[in-house]
């Protein structure tokens, strides 16, 4: 019983780390662009697929074990660096001034397109790679043998992302410019800030984070059609529970939801999928704008 609970906590931490990578990009993009990107989960899925493909190829080269981990990062940068700018410039930039409902519909349409691109490129059979997990080996925690990849690497990357992002937004010029555009786009533009560049940068960065989440997840789950939609719904639950646009809060709710889910996996497997949303609904019933969100001003 305690052993199971301990296992559930370890699983929950690793899972929360993956979800956080996707959720933080979603919330960052929303904070700056004021668009909730429904296609964000697809970046997670595509990141995973590209990482698996690259990893399988890297395993055949002479540098096999050393390449396994860099391949994950490379996949994320490739996916985010290509898809991010193309989608932001070609499509999103046309709809910043349109109604909310149209913005949602446009990203939903993108989501439909990206889901099928995955099916057409990688088929519908599960895809899996385990080289990155094997490279790092296993560790003993108490009586449990666990993979170092899930114990150290995943939470480590998530924590580094959170701290790096906080440092970046508060201490660097580019980061402060992003915050300025978030607070007041017009005032920032009047100060000579190129808001369009900030939008492009933020969207690309958020896309890379989601793709990195997918790449990191590729050795721990098999990739099948549908991972994208599950991830967007789950990361939205994380982001909504924390409050849209809240970065530090997203870490906390990712932990809450990740742990809740993995405890359910061990003790009530039928309700694994329901737990994250029960948590979300419970929080939203008490705090309609999320744990850390602020209500928006009502205009007359």
């Amino acid at each position: 019983m305690t052993l199971l609970l301990f296992l559930a906590i370890l699983d929950g931490l690793a899972y929360a780390a993956q979800v956080f990578m996707v959720a933080v990009g979603l919330t960052l993009i929303f904070g700056v662009l004021r668009i909730l990107n429904v296609a964000h989960g697809s970046f997670f899925a595509i990141g995973g697929y590209v990482a698996a493909t690259l990893g399988t190829w890297a395993a055949t080269t002479a540098l096999a074990p050393a390449l396994a981990l860099p391949a994950l990062l490379l996949a994320a940068v490739l996916v985010g660096g290509v898809l991010g700018p193309v989608i932001e410039r070609l499509i999103l930039s046309r709809i910043y001034v349109k109604e909310h409902v149209l913005q949602l519909l446009v990203t939903f349409a993108l989501f439909m397109i990206l889901e099928d691109i995955q099916k057409l490129t990688w088929g519908v059979q599960p895809i899996f790679q385990d080289a990155p997990v094997r490279v790092l080996g296993q560790v003993e925690v108490g009586d449990i043998i666990y993979t170092a990849y899930q114990l150290y690497l995943l939470p480590g990357v998530a924590l580094a992302t959170l701290l790096g992002l906080m440092w970046f937004l508060r201490r660097t010029l580019t980061g402060r410019v992003i915050v300025a555009v978030t607070e007041d786009r017009e005032a920032a533009t009047a100060m000579g800030i190129d808001a369009n560049r900030v939008y492009l940068l933020t969207f690309t960065f958020g896309t890379v984070l989601a793709a990195l989440g997918g790449a990191l997840a590729s050795p721990t789950t098999s990739l099948v059609p549908g991972v994208g939609v599950n991830m967007i719904v789950l990361s939205f639950a994380v982001v909504a529970t924390a409050g849209l646009g809240q970065i530090e809060g997203a870490m906390l709710t990712a932990l809450l939801i990740g742990l809740g889910r993995s405890v359910a996996v061990y003790f009530a497997p039928e309700f694994e999928v329901v737990i994250p949303y029960l948590i979300m609904v419970a929080v939203l019933l008490v705090r309609p704008h999320g744990l850390f969100g602020r209500p928006e001003l009502r205009r007359v």
Binding site: L104, A109, V233, E270, L285
Partner: protein, 313 residues
């Protein structure tokens, strides 16, 4: 109904019957299209308020599974369909009390979340739902008569058309009523609505429950037509399909959903078979094109071609 709608409505109904008589397999396609049209009418009401739900397949599945679960005990269609609509209403009220507090992003995504939770419950609670195998539905009697297949399909189609006409008329009356007129006010400036002493939350809740009831009824018809229900009915692709049809048909008229649904189903029969893995991609691309370049959908194009020209002449 005013004459500008009555004429195309009855002409369309006659055309559907004529086509179904000339090609027998079309009866099935058209019945499904009309059932989806009912659900899309609900989406249209929500769109009037500027809200989009990515989870209304939930109510289709609720209606369909209600029919599947009660069919062994109740053999009569005229009881099964009201039950399906009632189940949609009840679930819609429960979920609606929660989601009507939210707008825009939250509204759309919370609906998606609820439908995906329902989907995985249908899939996982195998004991009750038989999982992905789904449940077979025995053909029910209609007004006490056990009909042969061809007669049954005809009755379903004619019944579907009658329902579509009646509910389309009701929907247009609802949109013209003070409550219906409050919907666009939620879209433009909700606070002003509240200053006028009208609760925006209540208005949206009413529209939401109606939309859930319509989708439940549509789901019941789908179950009685396909005679087999699976969890896939509540999957996000089906919610997306409803939104797609609403945008394709155009939000300007209560006939838009049926026009959109029939065109959509006809194209799907051919195209989805030709590109099984690329179908969502095609839908997504067309959706983007409509939103960016023809925001009023097929009904808007019809208006431009027929009504405007008529007025000028």
């Amino acid at each position: 109904m005013d004459r500008r709608l009555a004429l195309p409505a009855f002409a369309g109904a006659a055309l559907v019957i004529a086509l179904a008589a000339s090609a027998p397999w079309l009866k099935f396609v058209f019945t499904i299209a009309l059932a989806k049209g009912l659900a899309v009418t609900g989406i249209l009401l929500l769109l009037r308020a500027g809200q989009v739900s990515f989870g209304h397949a939930l109510y289709i599945a609720v209606g369909a599974y209600t029919v599947a679960f009660t069919r062994p005990h109740v053999g009569e269609m005229l009881l099964l369909l009201p039950l399906a609509a009632a189940a949609g209403t009840i679930v819609g009220l429960a979920v609606g009390l929660f989601v009507a507090r939210y707008r825009d992003i939250f509204f759309g995504m919370l609906n998606l979340a609820f439908s995906m939770v329902f989907y995985s419950l249908l899939e996982k609670l195998y004991e009750y739902t038989k999982g992905t195998d789904g449940i077979r539905v025995a053909r029910p009697t209609i007004a006490g008569m056990a009909l042969e297949r061809v007669d049954y399909e005809w009755t379903m189609l004619i019944g579907g058309i009658a329902l579509a006409l009646a509910l389309g008329w009701l929907a247009s009356r609802f949109l013209a009523s003070p409550l219906g007129q409050a919907l666009p006010a939620i879209k433009t400036r909700e606070t002003r609505l509240e200053f006028a002493g009208i609760s925006a939350k209540r208005v949206l809740l009413v529209a939401y429950v109606i939309s859930a009831a319509l989708a439940g009824l549509g789901g019941g018809i789908i179950a009685c037509t396909t005679l087999h229900v699976t969890p896939l009915l509540s999957y996000w692709t089906h919610s997306g399909e409803l939104v797609f049809i609403a945008i394709l048909g155009g939000g300007g008229s209560v006939l838009g959903p049926y026009l959109g649904a029939i065109v959509y189903e006809l194209v799907r029969v051919y195209a989805a078979a030709a590109f099984p893995d690329g179908w969502q991609m095609i839908l997504g691309a067309v959706l983007l094109l409509i939103i960016l370049f023809a925001a009023r959908g097929l009904w808007g194009i019809y208006e431009d071609l027929v009504l405007r020209k008529g007025r000028r002449a």
